[in-house]
C-alpha cells in the first residue's frame, strides 16, 4: 500500500544535485517523481525511482546520507478541485500532511500525488472509505 521513497541529504551548494542525478543516471535508474525541500543551508532531495534498493545503494556508496521513507501515492482527478478533495478527506480524519509532491507521469485523466502524513494507517482508511484510489509499488511500476 505504501511506496518507497528515497531521501538524500544535500548541502546547499553548486553541483550537489547534479552529483546525485549522475549517480542514478549511471546506474540506469528511472526517476518517476522528485522534489526538494530546501533551507538556507541544506536540502532534502526526495524521489520515487523504479529500482529503490539499487538506487539507495548507489547513493550511499557515493557518500550521501540517505534513507528510505514510506509515502502514499494517491490518485486524484486532474481537474480543479481534485487535490482539494483528497485533502478535505484527510483533514476531516484529522491527519496532518508533512509534505506532498506530484508524479511526473499521469494515468489518463488522473494525477498522482505523493503524501507523507503523520498517521499513514489512518490516512489510508479515510482515503479508501472516500473512494480514493491508493497506488502500491506494482501499480506505479506498470504506469
Amino acid at each position: 500500500m505504501f511506496v518507497k521513497q528515497i531521501s538524500v541529504f544535500l548541502e546547499n551548494k553548486p553541483g550537489r544535485l547534479a552529483a546525485v542525478t549522475k549517480v542514478l543516471a549511471d546506474k540506469g535508474i528511472d526517476i518517476s517523481a522528485i522534489s526538494i525541500a530546501d533551507t538556507t543551508q541544506f536540502g532534502i532531495l526526495r524521489m520515487i525511482v523504479n529500482k529503490p534498493e539499487e538506487a539507495m545503494a548507489a547513493v550511499k556508496q557515493a557518500g550521501f546520507p540517505a534513507s528510505t521513507t514510506e509515502v502514499l501515492a494517491v490518485e486524484v482527478q486532474d481537474e480543479p478541485g481534485g487535490l482539494n478533495h483528497a485533502l478535505q478527506v484527510l483533514q476531516q480524519a484529522e491527519v496532518s500532511v508533512e509534505y506532498l509532491y506530484s508524479f511526473i507521469k499521469r494515468n489518463e485523466d488522473k494525477a498522482l500525488i505523493l503524501f507523507r502524513v503523520e498517521d499513514p494507517q489512518k490516512a489510508v482508511e479515510a482515503l479508501k472509505s472516500a473512494g480514493i484510489k491508493i497506488y502500491g509499488s506494482d501499480d506505479i511500476a506498470s504506469l
Partner: protein, 432 residues
C-alpha cells in the same frame, strides 16, 4: 603614579628576598594541605625544606589544567572551605569547569593587583571606571570590580551586553577608564558611530583590555576610534584572574607582579627553562595565595620575558604581549573553548566518531564560531524539521556547556578534510 610604590618599585635584591620567603611558605602550605602536591613531591623525593634558593623552584613538579580536572572540584584547595569566601570557574577542557577558590585575603590581594593596573591606566580615587567584563563565574567582572573599589574609584558595574545603554552611561557619567575585552571595545566604538556620538563627547582616557589575544593593529584601531590609550592586561583564573600582569603607560610589555607570582619561560616540549628574551611557555608559581596556590602552573600561553628596567620606574619584569598558545585552546568572546569540548557535545548527541570543523571569524568586531558537523546516516532524517531540531539541539548543548552562541552547519560527509594523523579541527579566520 603607583598604587604601591614600595612593592612595585622594590630593588631586585629586596624582591628576590621577598620571593624566596613567600615561595618557602607556599611550598610548605601545599605540601601540608594538599594531598596531590604532597604526593607529587614525595614521588620525586622532595620535602619543603629542600627549597633553599629561588633556583630550587626548578626541582618542583609542574601543575597543569589536568591536575585541576583530576582534583575537581576543590581537591587542590589549600584552605578549608570555612576560609573560602568566593568561587569562580572557567570552562574546562571537557564537560566539567575548572573551579577556583579564594580566601578573604586572596580577594583582598587580587583587588590590590587590579588597583595597581588601574593606577597604571591613570586611575585615581575620583576616576569613573566602567566594568564591562561579564560578572559571574568569569573572573573578569568581579575581579575588576573589587580592584576599582579598593582604589576608591567610582565603579559602574555594567557587565557585558546592552551596548547602547553602556554608551549612554559612559557619556552621561563621564567614564574615564573602560575595562572589557578588546573586541567588545571595538564593538562599543561601532555602536558610538551608529548612535551618532562623536568620541570627543566622551571622557574616556584609558581602556584596560584583556581576556583574549589582540594585536598591535587592533590596539591602533581601538585607540584611534575611542581616542584612548589601550592597555593590555593578563590573567587566568587558575592563577587568580585579571591582574597577573598589566601594561604601564609605556605600552612595552606587561609588568608581571613578581611580589605575588614567580614567572618562568620554558620550552613546552623539553620543559627546560629558557633564558630571558626567548619565546616559550609561561609558567607561573603563586607565592601569596591561600585558597588555590599553584606551583609551576603551565599556562600554555606563549610569550617571552625581559628584566630590563622600565622607564615607568617599576622593577617587575615584563612579559611580551601574549598571542599564541601551546595547545588548541581558542578564545571566543573572552570564553576559553577547546575543540574537545565541542567534540564531547557531539558525542553526547549520539555521534560515535564526530567529524566536525570549527570556523572562527570576527564579524563586525565580534567573534563568531560556526560548527560544521558532517551528517551521518544516524543524524540524517527525511524531514527538514527534524534536521533543524538536530542543529538547534547541538547549538543549545554547546551553549549549555560553554556559554557561547554558535551557528551549527550541517554538511555532507567527507566535506571536512581528513588529514593523516591529527585532524584539522579549527580554521581561525580572525586577523591576529
Amino acid at each position: 603614579m603607583y598604587w604601591n610604590k614600595s612593592r612595585e618599585c622594590m630593588s631586585r635584591d629586596e624582591l628576590e628576598f621577598h620571593q624566596l620567603q613567600k615561595l618557602k611558605e607556599t611550598v610548605d602550605r601545599v605540601y601540608h594541605n594538599v594531598e596531590s602536591y604532597r604526593h607529587k613531591m614525595q614521588q620525586k623525593g622532595i620535602i619543603p625544606e629542600d627549597i633553599k634558593s629561588l633556583e630550587d623552584l626548578k626541582i618542583l613538579p609542574f601543575t597543569t589544567k589536568q591536575d585541576l580536572r583530576d582534583n575537581y572540584p576543590t581537591g587542590l584547595f589549600a584552605a578549608p572551605l570555612s576560609e573560602i569566601i568566593r568561587i569562580h570557574a572557567s570552562s574546562g577542557t571537557t564537560g566539567k569547569p575548572t573551579v577556583v577558590g579564594y580566601t578573604r585575603r586572596d580577594i583582598s590581594n587580587w583587588a590590590e593587583l587590579v588597583a595597581r593596573c588601574l593606577v597604571m591606566g591613570g586611575g585615581r580615587r575620583d576616576t569613573v571606571v566602567q566594568v564591562s567584563y561579564g560578572y559571574g563565574l568569569f573572573t573578569g567582572g568581579l575581579g575588576f570590580h573589587y580592584g576599582a573599589e579598593k582604589l576608591g574609584a567610582v565603579v559602574i558595574p555594567t557587565s557585558g551586553g546592552n551596548t547602547r545603554r553602556q554608551v549612554m552611561l559612559m557619556k552621561d557619567l563621564k567614564t574615564e577608564i573602560l575595562a572589557c575585552t578588546p573586541s567588545y571595545a571595538l564593538y562599543i566604538a561601532e555602536t558610538l558611530e551608529e548612535m551618532g556620538i562623536n568620541r570627543d563627547e566622551l571622557h574616556l582616557k584609558t581602556g584596560i583590555f584583556g581576556a583574549e589575544p589582540w594585536t598591535e593593529n587592533m590596539r591602533k584601531e581601538i585607540q584611534e576610534k575611542l581616542g584612548i590609550k589601550a592597555l593590555d592586561i593578563y590573567g587566568l583564573s587558575e592563577v587568580i584572574g585579571p591582574g597577573v600582569a598589566c601594561e604601564c603607560s609605556e605600552q612595552n610589555g606587561l609588568h608581571i607582579f613578581e611580589d605575588f607570582f614567580i614567572p618562568e619561560i620554558i620550552d613546552p616540549i623539553t620543559e627546560e627553562p629558557l633564558p630571558p628574551g626567548e619565546k616559550g611557555e609561561l609558567v607561573i608559581t603563586t607565592i601569596d595565595k591561600e585558597g588555590l596556590p599553584v606551583i609551576r602552573y603551565r599556562t600554555r600561553d606563549i610569550t617571552s620575558i625581559k628584566y630590563e628596567p622600565c622607564p615607568c620606574g617599576r622593577t617587575h619584569a615584563r612579559i611580551e604581549k601574549l598571542l599564541g598558545r601551546t595547545d588548541d585552546m581558542l578564545i571566543i568572546r573572552g570564553v576559553n573553548v577547546f575543540p574537545s569540548q565541542i567534540e564531547s557535545v557531539l558525542m553526547a548527541a549520539g555521534e560515535t566518531e564526530p567529524h566536525y570543523l570549527l570556523i572562527v571569524d570576527r564579524v563586525d568586531n565580534l567573534d563568531s564560531l560556526e560548527v560544521w558537523v558532517e551528517v551521518s546516516e544516524k543524524l540524517f532524517a527525511d524531514e527538514v524539521r527534524k534536521l533543524e531540531d538536530v542543529r538547534k539541539k547541538i547549538a543549545s548543548d554547546i551553549y549549555t556547556t560553554l556559554g557561547i552562541t554558535v551557528n551549527v552547519r550541517l554538511v555532507e560527509p567527507h566535506t571536512i578534510e581528513r588529514s593523516e594523523g591529527k585532524a584539522k579541527r579549527v580554521i581561525d579566520k580572525r586577523k591576529m
